[in-house]
């Protein structure tokens, strides 16, 4: 009991001690020279106005840099803006604009490296090459930032939020547009990406490689050049995200390449050329997603094994499913397919005859894409019907044995 009391006392004391030594300072101009010298303040308030800075280096531990009246740091297209290497850093309420663009180095508006327990909150980044760049960081919060790029050409654009070799990063409620990749993670593990809106990026809204154990929840990825691509990773959860309006010949709502043991649930795929494209991905659980108005709802290649696809809804897609193999090692059950024409005599809500989601025409398209020109023609209806009556070309084992009779909309 006494021990517990002591602990509580200690907890109460800690903030008191740390606040008592807090030293604050308000900077009006010569920001650069202030940070070039020995920084003593724990909290630096920056007053409104524009500051022209170059490679501002912050190395003091536990420093808070807070903007009052929305100050602007401008690098005049020459260099990086803020380079921090400080644990427990806070950067809040500052606008960063006009970093340099370079082929050799990745200029970033806010670069934080080798640090832990940092917070980057409510900043705005405009016209920058890379916006927020974390390398070798952990336990860090990136929240409420607005990243407004102006990328037009691929080589002259960087990523919005770029993580390299990080652990336990919380990326929350950011808005990212017109960068190369909106959110990019490489070797970033155990992180949570929640409630972000990434749109109109040149390449991918979200892109990650080698980033195990991350969770992506309630994000929106729309109108990106190539949608979302994720690769070479295990143990990923993607829950309740929106993948909208990713159109183009090589554009995917969600592209999986070598993703294993992962869960994709409660997501909504709308108006994408391909909703989910999966290659070399094993043991996926794809459940309770809604696919509406896509060209192909899913393309699952033959090298994907032991996937389970259940309780998904497929409405108004040109093709529900395409594959390049005559065999399938994935399980489909309890999905709703709007093209299903079966009956339910038992009245248990489950169709009595299996549904085969791969149509003969989608097999034809895989082999000769030019055949697309006869889409929706009478000939196609005939061959699809013939195939339905006696399947010969579509994968024998690929069928939904228990298709649902009624749709539902989880994501609405």
């Amino acid at each position: 009991m006494i021990r517990r009391l002591f602990h509580i006392l200690l907890l109460l004391l800690i903030p008191a001690v740390s606040y008592s030594v807090n030293d604050t300072l308000t900077v009006n101009d010569n920001l650069q020279s202030y940070f070039a010298g020995i920084v003593t303040a724990d909290t630096v308030f920056i007053s409104g106005g524009t500051y022209y800075v170059k490679d501002l280096r912050v190395t003091k531990q536990s420093i808070s840099i807070i903007g009052l009246d929305n100050p602007k740091f401008d690098a005049n297209k020459e260099s990086e803006i803020l380079i921090a290497e400080a644990d427990s850093l806070l950067i809040k309420g500052i606008t960063f604009s006009n970093t340099g663009v370079s082929f050799i180095t990745d200029f970033a508006a806010i670069r934080v490296q080798n640090s832990t327990a940092c917070r980057l909150i409510d900043n705005t980044v405009e016209n920058s090459f890379f916006a927020i760049y974390l390398s070798n960081c952990s336990n860090t919060l990136v929240s409420g930032n607005r990243i407004l790029g102006n990328s037009v050409s691929e080589s002259f654009s960087g990523n919005g939020i770029h993580l390299w070799n990080c652990n336990k990063i919380f990326i929350f409620n950011n808005e990212i547009c017109r960068q190369r990749d909106g959110i990019y993670l490489e070797f970033a593990t155990n992180s949570i990406i929640l409630g972000n809106n990434s749109y109109s990026n040149l390449r991918y809204g979200l892109h990650f490689m080698f980033s195990e154990g991350n969770k992506y929840v309630m994000n929106s990825f729309s109108q990106n050049g190539a949608g979302v691509a994720v690769m070479y990773t295990k143990k990923v959860s993607m829950i309740n995200n929106n993948f909208f309006d990713n159109w183009g010949s090589n554009s995917y709502g969600l592209l999986f390449k070598d993703i294993d043991n992962s869960t994709v649930a409660f997501n909504k795929f709308r108006r994408n050329t391909v909703g989910i494209y999966s290659e070399g991905s094993n043991r996926l659980l794809v459940s309770k997603n809604v696919f509406i108005d896509n060209g192909w709802a899913m393309k699952i290649l033959g090298n994907c094994y032991d996937g389970v696809f259940n309780y998904n809804e497929f409405t108004n897609n040109t093709f529900d499913l395409a594959t390049n193999s005559s065999r399938s090692n994935n399980t489909f059950c309890y999905n709703y397919w709007d093209k299903y024409k079966g009956y339910d005599l038992g009245k248990d809500g489950i169709g009595d005859v299996p549904y085969r989601p791969v149509s003969l025409f989608s097999v034809l398209i895989e082999n000769s894409p030019d055949a697309m020109i006869i889409l929706n023609s009478f000939v196609v209806d005939i061959i699809d019907f013939a195939e339905k009556v006696s399947p010969a070309f579509t994968p024998e084992t690929l069928s939904d044995e228990k298709p649902l009779m009624k749709g539902f909309s989880y994501a609405n």
Binding site: E154, S155, E186, L202, R203, H207, M209, G225, N250
Partner: protein, 149 residues
């Protein structure tokens, strides 16, 4: 009638020779950054410091977003190729012969697919980069052994 015949003969002669001009040299088609897709990893090819190319024995061009993708692809599929190209890091957008190039693996120079690999035309270029960034320089065979580990 005669006109048609001449046209026909013209086509017969012209088409094969034209396709030969484009097809027989083993030269690659250029990479269209921002629209082409990597043959190996399916990503859109964006960074013109790292693109690489394989031309197969039928003169078809296969494009890759990074040299490591090219190396992995060769290992996995063992294709019949005529020539291989990588991009000279010091001249973005310029393709050079992969087998006579030199490669730096340095954590300070990150490449698209996570191998920290950049290519240089000469050994001294690679050495220069190594001196300023650290890391290790390989030739083509060395690189293949290194990435196979």
């Amino acid at each position: 009638m005669k006109n048609k015949l001449i046209n026909y003969i013209f086509l017969l002669i012209f088409f094969p020779s034209a396709s030969c001009i484009y097809g027989c040299s083993g030269e690659p088609d250029p990479i269209n950054y921002g629209s082409d897709i990597c043959t190996h990893c399916n990503m859109k090819i964006m960074d013109n410091r790292f693109g690489s190319v394989m031309v197969n024995s039928k003169n078809k061009t296969f494009k890759f977003d990074a040299a490591e993708c090219l190396v992995d692809y060769l290992k996995e599929t063992n294709p019949d190729f005529k020539s291989l190209f990588v991009t000279d890091f010091n001249n973005p957008g310029t393709l050079i012969d992969a087998k006579n190039s030199f490669y730096l693996i340095s954590p300070k120079r990150k490449s698209p697919m996570g191998e920290n690999l950049s290519a240089y035309k000469t050994e001294s270029d690679a050495g220069h980069a190594k001196n300023s960034l650290g890391g290790e320089v390989f030739d083509w065979t060395g690189l293949n052994n290194q990435l196979g580990k």
